[in-house]
């Protein structure tokens, strides 16, 4: 529904086609300028990974493959700093404008990136609106100290200092007891955090996500987060802090 409303927005002057080769740039592009999308990476359609999966399903997609992208003759290609690097090099060699963006690991970084990409696409007002809404959500979080929490991601990896999950925990008043290293069920039980945050069980079977449902963990207080909110930092990531503060 939101996608239809956004797509019917008047096109900004000088509209040009944009191809995105990375799940994170896909989401920024769809949120900021869906009418500019020439193609997204196919993971953008996966609801377990992508916040904009519903909109992305109505938009074209392309494999991160130089030949396929060149055929689309995009005016701009958005990519990340990891993955598809050989494709990026080939596209640049053929004179295509490629902009690579970072993966922000805190809310200030996300805000700066939203503004950077919105300027690039000529939709600064939309970017500012997204940033304003983020800041309002963060300001509204209750200021109080909570206990120690461990963000326990798929495969038993804890989110540690410097990660987006750590930023969300701290914004919600929790002390992040994770270190960024991998721990097993027994080590987690030894740590006895006041809260364990895991990803919501996905639709597909995986040992990495089954781990979070080990029967020995039944007694630990738990909150679950949709992985799409944290896979790529975006304006929607503040929802995690909001949920952790409840």
């Amino acid at each position: 529904m939101a996608a239809a409303a956004l797509i019917s927005c008047p096109l900004p002057a000088g509209a040009a086609g944009v191809v995105s080769l990375n799940l994170c740039t896909d989401q920024l592009l769809v949120l900021l300028a869906p009418e500019r999308v020439q193609a997204l990476e196919f993971l953008a359609r996966d609801p377990t990974l992508s916040f904009v999966a519903a909109q992305a399903r109505h938009l074209p997609w392309v494999r991160a493959d130089a030949e396929a992208v060149l055929q689309l003759r995009p005016d701009l290609v958005l990519a990340g700093h990891y993955g598809a690097q050989t494709t990026v090099a080939l596209l640049r060699a053929r004179g295509v404008r490629v902009v690579q963006i970072d993966e922000p690991q805190d809310f200030a970084g996300i805000e700066a990136q939203v503004m950077q990409v919105s300027r690039l696409l000529g939709v600064e007002a939309r970017g500012q609106a997204l940033v304003d809404r983020m800041q309002a959500t963060l300001r509204a979080l209750p200021r109080r100290r909570r206990g120690r929490a461990v963000f326990w991601e798929a495969g038993g990896w804890t989110a540690g200092p410097g990660s987006l999950a750590d930023a969300a925990l701290r914004a919600a008043g929790w002390t992040d007891a994770g270190t960024g290293s991998r721990i097993g069920v027994e080590a987690l039980l030894r740590d006895k955090p006041d809260l364990m945050v895991t990803e919501t069980a996905p639709a597909f079977p995986s040992m990495a996500t089954d781990l979070a449902w080990h029967p020995a963990l039944r007694g630990l207080p738990r909150k679950t987060v949709a992985p799409a909110l944290l896979t790529c930092g975006g304006p929607y990531s503040v929802q995690v802090a909001e949920m952790l503060a409840q």
Partner: protein, 315 residues
């Protein structure tokens, strides 16, 4: 029951006790939850999976009269892991209890069948080992293919589990799934002692003694399928236990294949439990981020062994 078995059983019982005292929460008696839900299933699974692998190795070496026969080297373990991978990542395992070990056992059975078909009549010669190498390579390739096609962003990272094995964070549910078929398979294999002794005289001689050779090989295949298949379903592909254990025990238990079965079962359980204890101890004493893979440890132990045995059998 011979002396080697008794000594091994005593050592095994001691290790089972020690194993309950070692884990990420530290050395010593843990609280009840960790003991019952984490260390107990892990300890018992290490012993059971190891017992199945050790006994299967001894039976295969006797039945095929080939000192290099091992469920891992022959690709039976790989085919079992492939069956488990397909069942797990394509949603069959979640559909009904028992589907995971069932699919692994189906994989192991198909592996046994293909092995017989590939190597033809020359079951005891080097062609058997070559067929096993081919089967192993094929199983690994299909495991990687099935995982990369699975609708799951973590599947690629989980290839290491299925190829190298592991017992981290296994649950009582895994024990309930794998325990009964492993025990059933072992019970079947343990009864083959006298037939294997007769087979050691050669298939033709054994047949003149009235031994149903084909039926014996079939029973051995079924037992190996149950023990190795169910083990691979919960522990992934663990190699070399079945190769190393019978070789280590021959000097004490004797050359007769039948006399090697019970000690190999106890020895396999002891070896895998010891390897798993090492895996758990390593991060406590070394600056390691996580445990080394169980299959990595058994391969580090087994590969030099394989070289030694291969040199002995080389013409």
């Amino acid at each position: 029951m011979n002396r080697a078995s008794v000594v091994l059983l005593v050592v095994l019982c001691g290790l089972l006790g020690v194993s309950l005292l070692v884990g990420a929460a530290g050395l010593g008696v843990p609280d009840w939850l960790i003991l019952w839900q984490i260390r107990l299933p892990r300890t018992l699974l290490a012993a059971l999976v190891g017992a199945g692998l050790g006994l299967s190795g001894a039976v295969l070496q006797g039945a095929l009269r080939n000192p290099l026969a091992d469920p891992g080297l022959l690709g039976i373990g790989g085919c079992a892991a492939l069956g488990a991978v397909i069942a797990f990542y394509w949603g069959v395992a979640a559909a009904f209890a028992g589907a995971l070990p069932g699919a692994a056992m189906l994989g192991a059975a198909l592996g046994c069948g293909m092995l017989m078909a590939f190597s033809g009549r020359a079951l005891s010669g080097p062609s058997l080992i070559l067929a096993g190498v081919a089967l192993s390579a094929m199983a690994s390739a299909f495991i990687a293919l099935a995982l990369s096609l699975a609708p799951n962003p973590f599947a690629l990272a989980e290839i290491t589990f299925w190829l190298m094995g592991g017992l981290e964070d296994r649950t009582l549910a895994h024990l309930a799934l794998a325990g009964p078929p492993i025990l059933l398979g072992c019970a079947l294999l343990l009864r083959l002692g006298r037939r294997l002794d007769a087979l050691s005289l050669g298939e033709a001689t054994a047949a003149t003694l009235g031994l149903p050779v084909g039926r014996t090989l079939m029973l051995a295949s079924v037992g190996v399928t149950l023990a190795v298949g169910a083990g691979a379903a919960v522990a992934g592909g663990i190699g070399f236990v079945g190769l190393v254990v019978p070789h280590l025990l021959r000097p004490v238990a004797g050359q007769r294949p039948g006399a090697l079965l019970a000690p190999s079962m106890a020895g396999g359980a002891t070896l895998l439990l010891l390897a798993d204890l090492l895996a758990r101890l390593a991060p406590l004493v070394l600056p390691l981020g996580s445990e080394p893979r169980l299959g990595v440890l058994t391969a580090l132990l087994g590969a030099p062994f394989l070289v030694r045995i291969a040199r002995q059998v080389a013409p």
